[in-house]
């Protein structure tokens, strides 16, 4: 079965999601909306997909590659251009909802977009490599560290390479994306912490989407740029780059840093810059494939 996947979705109600990247590439449970859509189409028996981007077509390929992880053959039409002739009889699908959630529109409101993630969370979490259900409804990803006295309240998603500090409270209804850092005493509920985002000590994020230094209120759509990095910001890679040799060197020397600082290095070391993507290797859970921080 062939599918023409129209990515030219109407984001008038959620303009922030379409600002830095096409909305279908916005972070969504460790991947992007598009990646989850492709997984859903593959599960439904689709074999060939032609993507029809509205704009910024060059940003799609790093996310989907050639479609190998899903057993798909993916073609990318030029932005705004006609589909290839071999897809003339293909079924047209508008990516305004996921195949896995046919009754859940994605782009009608920010709460709707967040609700779709909540609805898909248990299914995706149980399929994701390395993710464990540490208690009912609480999922923690690969290489994540959670302090012993942190509270994780279901439903809750902690992605890969996340650090949750002492006395932090995550959940209920919280999604902490890959590579994020929740400092001691912070509280996140009814919210989404974007990939590679730092939430400072004793901050409280409720009903919001925090990504980088930007904070979006899901109910009102109001966006605030937080200028104080100790409150909200992007997780920075260690100075001088962070390769494997650097980490080996740090393992071998006596530690003078606080454990938290060492953890931060472990979180970011070896990724290059946060937001860097590894082309041609989609579908996994590598932190290097995170979408860039920011709304």
């Amino acid at each position: 079965m062939d599918v023409l996947l129209n990515c030219a979705v109407n984001t008038a109600a959620v303009p922030v999601l379409d600002r830095r990247r096409p909305a279908v590439l916005a972070p969504f449970l460790g991947e992007s909306v598009l990646v989850h859509a492709l997984a859903g189409l593959a599960a439904a028996g689709t074999r060939r997909v032609c993507l029809l981007p509205a704009d910024r077509a060059e940003e799609f390929r790093p996310f989907v590659g050639r479609g190998n992880p899903w057993g798909l053959e993916i073609q990318l039409a030029p932005a705004g251009g006609p589909p290839p002739p071999e897809f003339a009889t293909a079924r047209a699908v508008l990516l305004d909802r996921l195949p896995q959630l046919p009754d859940q529109p994605l782009w009608e409101s920010y709460p709707g977009w967040f609700a779709a993630q909540q609805a898909l969370l248990p299914t995706v979490a149980r399929q994701r490599v390395g993710m464990r259900e540490v208690s009912p409804g609480v999922f923690v990803g690969l290489r994540s560290q959670v302090a012993a006295d942190a509270q994780l309240l279901a439903p809750c998603w902690i992605g890969a390479n996340v650090f949750v500090g002492p006395s932090a409270i995550i959940g209920p209804a919280a999604i902490v994306e890959d590579g994020s850092y929740v400092d001691a005493g912070a509280e996140i509920s009814g919210s989404l912490l974007g990939p590679g985002t730092y939430a400072g000590s004793f901050t409280e994020i409720r009903g919001s989407f925090a990504a980088g230094s930007e904070l979006l209120n899901l109910a009102s759509g109001s966006v605030t740029e937080v200028t104080d990095r100790f409150l909200l910001g992007t997780v920075q890679p260690p100075a001088g780059g962070g390769g494997g040799w650097r980490r080996l060197f740090q393992l071998g020397r006596p530690s003078r840093a606080r454990p938290v600082a060492a953890d931060r290095t472990a979180l970011t070391g070896g990724w290059g810059t946060t937001g860097e993507r590894l082309e041609g290797n989609p579908g996994g859970s590598e932190p290097g494939r995170m979408p860039p921080a920011g709304l």
């Binding site: 409280e204 904070l215 200028t227």
Partner: protein, 100 residues
Amino acid sequence: MKIQQQANTLVLSDITELNAANSSAFRDQARTALGEQCANVDIDLSQTRRVDSSGLGALISLQKTVCARGGSIRILRPTPIVSQILELTRLHRVFEIVGN
């Protein structure tokens, strides 16, 4: 910034920014205007577009001054941006907020 006195309440309004650039001036002007007669302070943040930790520090400093005199401080009609920062820093539990 506009400063008005209504009975024993000092009303501060027309504040477009409350950040490192003007927080010290804001705090000093407010303290000077407070004088001996005013016990309470109302801060109208309906025009405020930027707030950072320095601005929040000025608000907390002013609150300590006012509370030491037995008065109270209220924040009036904060913009969504201000509300988000207050909630992020949990200061919405410290200040009385009116007309959010």
